[in-house]
Amino acid sequence: MRPFDYLRPDDVATAVRAVADDPDARFLAGGTNLVDHLKLGVARPGLLVDVRGLPLHDVEVADVGGGTVLRVGANVRNSDLAAHPVVRREFPAVARALVSAASAQIRHQATTGGNLLQRTRCVYFQDVSTPCNKREPGSGCSAVEGFARYNAVLGASPECVTVHPSDLAVALAAVDASVVTDGPAGERRLPVAELHRLPGDAPEKDTVLEHGELITAVELPASPVAQRSTYYKARDRASYAFALASVAAGLELDGDVVRDVRIVWGGVAHKPWRALRAEEALRGERFSEEAVLAAADAELEQAETSPGTAFKVPMVRGATALVLGRLAGGGR
């Protein structure tokens, strides 16, 4: 591991400036992803700026423009967020996504900001002896013809075929959450669904954030689709494993007609995949399993698979029907 300088500022402006001024600097939160990368040689920063001394530890209910918003500080731990009564009652998909991830120990350590910005688990990305465009731009992608089980089926590029590993990000996108950031250019707010990007020809960039831009909070607006939402994760073992495919969904019914719906898929793309075509196909329709499967098919027309990933298409299709069926039956 390369030696580094370590700073632990107690105000946001100092933290932002310290990273923005030094191309070799990185933020550090719980460390459950970044410390692993230091050990593996995947990350070799010259300066770590610890954000855990910043006053970003609170969860508060705020009134914004007549609606209620749950504002979650970037340092709130994954375990505390999952156990929070408002999250459990008003945003069940978020609570379920959190408790489906990692282990209890890791959830006590992992933060909201760090979870969103964790990097891919692609085995080649984590192995510095193999080519990987995300780790070393221009070196090639070992996964295209390699181990494919965790590869994308939507929105990939020849340069990178990996997926984003966060469960939380998928659920936050389904409840229309926003991230609040503070950076060299000041504060901004953007939908979680627009935080991560598709790989295109720059897979080294996971998100749209600038260097030195700090996530300070995540905001979750209360809504009927958020309140009736849930999360389902398919994986290779029953616990302590990343998603092969996952579905976060929210449903608002008017009798048996779909008034509003959110469908976001995890484990299938370089970002949480909002299934906009599927949502569009369902809105205003009478709810039925056939309608859900047809809607999923409409979305999955864009899927591109390899022999190693073909299983994901029926998996995410079936999971979508399962999740929406559960929601329609009153489950969460």
């Binding site: 459990r88 009652r89 408790v99």
Partner: protein, 173 residues
């Protein structure tokens, strides 16, 4: 070299560390506390689990500089103040044959102690059916909640029995 302070199993320590030192290496290599084990060193096995500021944590993914000032209780310190120096959870592991080689055991025991607290506080888990109701700590719940600790000897049947017994006795015995 930065200076850090930790309270470990009731004793205060202040020492200079290389900035790259993990809490696990600090405990084992610098303080000679070999209760937490280095299994994978990458967050994947749970054998390095301790209670850090009262909650179960992995020490292999925690930099000492970043957790400066923390209070750590390892499996070696859990028995403090109990009869025969044995914490009730450790005792339940003994009586239920909850190990074979014992390598994962200190992590399992710390994890179980942390889990019992989480149950008391009503934390939901992945298998909790109703997020708003009180948790029913059945075997599925206990398996899920202990899933962050792997046992290569496969002593899971005994581990589950031990943990089940601790839950039944209110977690403290």
């Amino acid at each position: 070299m930065p200076t850090v302070s930790f309270r470990v199993d009731g004793v205060d320590h202040t020492l200079d560390v290389d900035v790259r030192t993990t809490v696990l290496d600090l405990l084992r290599e610098r303080l000679g506390n070999t209760a937490p084990k280095k299994g994978c060193d990458h967050g994947q096995c749970g054998s390095c689990t301790v209670l850090l500021d009262g909650r179960r944590h992995l020490t292999c993914l925690a930099l000492a500089v970043s957790y400066d000032g923390a209070e750590v209780v390892t499996a070696a310190g859990l028995g403090e103040g109990h009869a025969d120096g044995l914490h009730p959870v450790a005792d339940a592991f003994l009586r239920n044959d909850a190990f074979q080689c014992g390598y994962c055991t200190p992590g399992q025991v710390c994890s179980a102690v942390g889990m019992l607290d989480e149950l008391r506080e009503g934390h939901p888990s992945h298998v909790t059916e109703d997020l708003d109701a009180e948790v029913d700590p059945d075997d599925d719940e206990l398996r899920e909640r202990m899933s962050g600790n792997l046992c290569r000897c496969g002593a899971y049947v005994g581990i589950l029995a031990a943990v089940r017994e601790c839950v039944a006795s209110g977690g403290e015995a």
